[in-house]
């Protein structure tokens, strides 16, 4: 195979992925709800548009804890006793493009647009 062709194939694949990201990011977002998910179950649901004063929320899970910082339109994890601190390094999330994940504690924090209640049968969100 020629390098040229391969580059074209990979560039096309990358473009396709970028399209998926843009398509998802471009969706109109009416409401913003943060969901804290532990072991696959939603344990907390916060309407981010209704948050006036930022506050911290402690989440106990599997022998450890994470402290989520909730503010208007954004969530971040500011403290955790897990070994890798990946969730803290991820910083703030402001939209549904990707969730914060803390693997050692099996914890996910994500933002869903709209009411956050309905789950799409195809995407599972």
């Amino acid at each position: 195979m020629k390098n040229r062709h391969l580059i074209m194939i990979f560039a096309l694949a990358a473009l396709l992925c970028a399209a998926v990201i843009l398509f998802r990011g471009g969706k109109a977002e009416s409401g913003k709800t943060a969901e804290i998910i532990k072991d696959g179950e939603v344990v907390e649901r916060i309407d981010l548009n209704a948050v006036d004063e930022p506050y911290d929320l402690k989440i106990e899970s599997g022998g450890g804890y994470n402290i989520a910082h909730v503010e208007s339109g954004a969530v971040s994890i500011t403290e955790a006793d897990c070994p890798d601190k990946v969730c803290i390094k991820q910083g703030k999330i402001i939209d549904a493009s990707y969730p914060i994940v803390c693997l050692p504690h099996k914890l996910t924090v994500r933002i869903v647009s709209g009411d956050g209640g309905e789950i799409d049968a195809v995407t599972g969100r």
């Binding site: 195979m1 990979f10 694949a13 998910i37 990946v86 991820q90 969730p99 994940v101 693997l103 599972g124």
Partner: protein
């Protein structure tokens, strides 16, 4: 393919190189907010071993590197990820290297990296039971294409320079 003393020594050296790169790379701050995106420089050694020594030796080097890597970084959790990702990546690369793609090692590396990232996402979804994590996939595929091309180009150059020397060394 008998395991001669020279071969074992060479594999030991390669494992040490891979482990050193792996530990050093872990010290570099994450490149982006999305976890799991990194250069994967240690895979240079795996692919190099695959191209020059063959799948069995590459497998052994990968296993030891991944195991010792998670011992040194003190995170057992990473073991599940690195193992699944690394194994599937190596399996795919072992198959691809038998095709005409052998001439384009960088492309083998790209496909390997994408498979590696996809496998890790699957493991993350299973561990956290959160299908939403799949939305990382497009980011990770793009990252895999870029980092894979980079590490693959490194391997291609190294193999070009080093293959003869190693073949001679092994007799």
């Amino acid at each position: 393919m008998k395991l001669s003393v020279r071969r074992i020594t060479l594999m030991g050296v390669l494992t040490a190189i891979a482990l050193t790169i792996f530990v050093l790379e872990a010290q570099i701050p994450p490149l982006s907010a999305i976890p799991g995106i990194k250069l994967g420089l240690a895979n240079v050694v795996t692919l190099f071993a695959l191209a020059v020594l063959g799948p069995r030796d590459a497998f052994i080097i990968l296993m030891i590197r991944v195991f010792l890597g998670s011992v040194f970084s003190g995170q057992i959790m990473t073991l599940a990820y690195s193992m699944t990702g690394g194994l599937l990546c190596l399996a795919a690369e072992s198959l691809l290297i038998k095709t005409p793609l052998k001439k384009n090692l960088w492309a083998v590396s790209v496909i390997g990296a994408v498979i590696h990232n996809t496998a890790q996402i699957c493991v993350a979804v299973i561990i956290t039971a959160t299908p939403g994590i799949f939305w990382y996939l497009p980011y990770l595929i793009i990252a895999g294409i870029i980092t894979g091309a980079f590490t693959g180009a490194c391997v291609q150059l190294t193999v070009k320079k080093g293959e003869k020397i190693i073949k001679k060394l092994l007799g």
